[in-house]
Amino acid sequence: MARSAVRIQVVEFGVLVGLALLVGRAAQVQILQGRRWAEEAQAQRTERIVLQARRGTLSDRHGTPLAVTQETYHVGIAPNELRDPVADGSLISRRLGLTAHTWQEALRRRYAYFAGPYSALEVQPLRSVRGVHLESVLNRFYPDPAVARATIGRLGDDGVGASGLERTLDSLLAGRAGAAVVLKDRAGREYESPARVIAPPVPGLDVVLTLDAELQEIAQRALDDALRRMDADGGDVVMLDPGTGEVLALASRQRDGTARPSAFTDTFEPGSLAKIFAAAALLSLRRVSPTDHVSGEGGKWRVLGRTITDDDPQPSLTLADAIRVSSNIAIAKFAARLTPGEQYATLRDFGFGALTGIEFPAEATGRLRPPSEWTRPSAASLAMGYELSVTPIQVAMAYGALANDGLLLQPTLIREVRDASGGVRYRHRPEPVRRVVSRGVVERGTGTEAALTNFPVAAKTGTARRVVNGRYAAGEYTASFAALFPADQPQLVLVVKIDNPHKGSYFAAQTAAPVTRSMLEQALAARTVALDRARLSTAAPRAAAAPADDDAGLVPYVVPWPYERDSTGVGGGPRRVVPDVAGFGMREAVRTLHRRGFRVALRGWGVAEHTWPAAGDSAAAGSMVTLFADPYAAARVRSRSPTPPPRGPRR
């Protein structure tokens, strides 16, 4: 009995020790090492996955998508899971575009992986096929890859913006990735249960660009046609709204078909395009009067050891003539009335030699040397558009300042930024940089080939020699053209640059100007182009109201002469010929007189009979013209004049 009691005690002791060991081990595992084992267990059962954030959409000003993010798929095939390798293989090969050889190769592997990416449409029939595993991934698409490719840019392999606006706006577009936990089985396969979201992905913001897709297509096609026709090395087109600084179209093309953003990055000497800025300086500083003439020197003038020539020699020229016939001699002579500091400050004020501040990752400043680095002929060279290098976007903004009453704006490519729910987070407001001058300069310009019949265009041509390896290359030119459309209250600034045209003329009037005309005609005929047609329609009947002294084909500048700082020039404006409105209805007669810049006082009613000052006389723009009307005037007018006054558009 005693022995059995001892045995029982031994057993009890053994059990106690065993239990103590068990409790001790449990304490070690649960308490001391609990966190580690819990983590290891969780790692075996769960996996943390990254939830991609949808990248924001880039669209044009009308909402046409230019860059979108869509769900696409990588496809994995487990051949041993296929129910019918022959039938399934045929379907898979067809949907994924695999050759028979590729499919046979895939069948020999344990798991074949096709990165694609494949669209949802392509993989839809494969969803129900056993052995096909789809892995969804968000991908960037460009619905029309050719549209504004250089401006929009592309993503790098890491999904981050690598160039263009994709790069500049990356922080806005990218959004923030989320995280989730999914359950796995022993083999590491995901359970078919919903993931536990730890942090939801935050989609990127959508950006509405200022670009107009239709104008962009017009610009690209016109530029492509021009480069092909002229066998040129390259070219650029910039269109923008002078009132807001919004860039509407940007096309760049090189001879090899590439489209790097040369409108921002490549500089050129503007040649005669820059004469207008020298004229602006002369006028704003009152260094020239409307009647001041300089000699044309018979088309050849030797000064400071250098010979300046004109293609269209004139005996004597005013400043307006200098711009109209693009006289190098006259503008160089007039520019001598400016100090180097004044000339430099004016060009600098127009934005040359400095970044425009547009939202693009690469931009050239161009070159505008300070007066301390000038040589003796520099002042004359700068007035003619040499010793100065600019980008097309700088020229467009400077001409935009002329169109915008001398206010230089910062150009922009971004119109709005919206969040995923459509709420507007940012809307562009015009950002003035500085006031350059109050009003522009001249009455007429060159650029006949860009002239439209019904719509006045203000324009300037520029043909400059090209610099290659630091020297002017013989026979190589850059033809450029800047236009304001319409000349009254411009809605568009167009800058066209053609690099080194090989076929036909190299003069801008024969190369860049027709491209501008073609683009304007297409823009007018397009439905959705960002033009204010209500304003255009009032400007349209130019031919009907054409002044008698308006030379057909010349492109008029509309800014009053003489220049009046910060004034509308009423009473002191240019003298204009009073049009003949006899026989017109009252409304049409008043409109015609208003378009010529006169104020109108009415006497009587019915049909316009005559005016005071009389038709054909000249009067200052802004002065009062009295319109006498009579209900029976029509019969008298008909009896006086067998031919009715012209009302239709002049062809």
Partner: protein, 94 residues
């Protein structure tokens, strides 16, 4: 004894009910997950379809396609500016 057996039966029933509830809930969750995945796939498919249609419409509407066809089939041409008449809207109209 009878009282103890009742307790055992009660516990057993409670266990079975709990187990069934867990099973039913899991099954419903898996069905819901499957349905959600199907709906997501359908949405992705429809999105893809819409994007494809938009791309095709845009390509068909582009000037590169329309202008040559309008010229070749209908004998139309791009109007010069003198052929474009913009009619001014009467004042006060919208």
């Amino acid at each position: 004894m009878a009282k103890g057996r009742h307790w055992v039966a009660l516990w057993l029933v409670a266990f079975l009910v709990t187990t069934w509830l867990v099973y039913a809930r899991q099954t419903a969750a898996i069905h819901a997950a499957r349905e959600l995945a199907d709906l997501r796939a359908r949405r992705a498919n429809l999105d893809g379809h819409r994007a494809d249609l938009e791309r095709r419409i845009r390509a068909a509407e582009s000037r590169a396609v329309l202008v040559p066809r309008a010229q070749a089939r209908l004998g139309l041409h791009l109007p010069s500016d003198s052929e474009i008449v913009l009619v001014p809207a009467p004042s006060g109209s919208h």
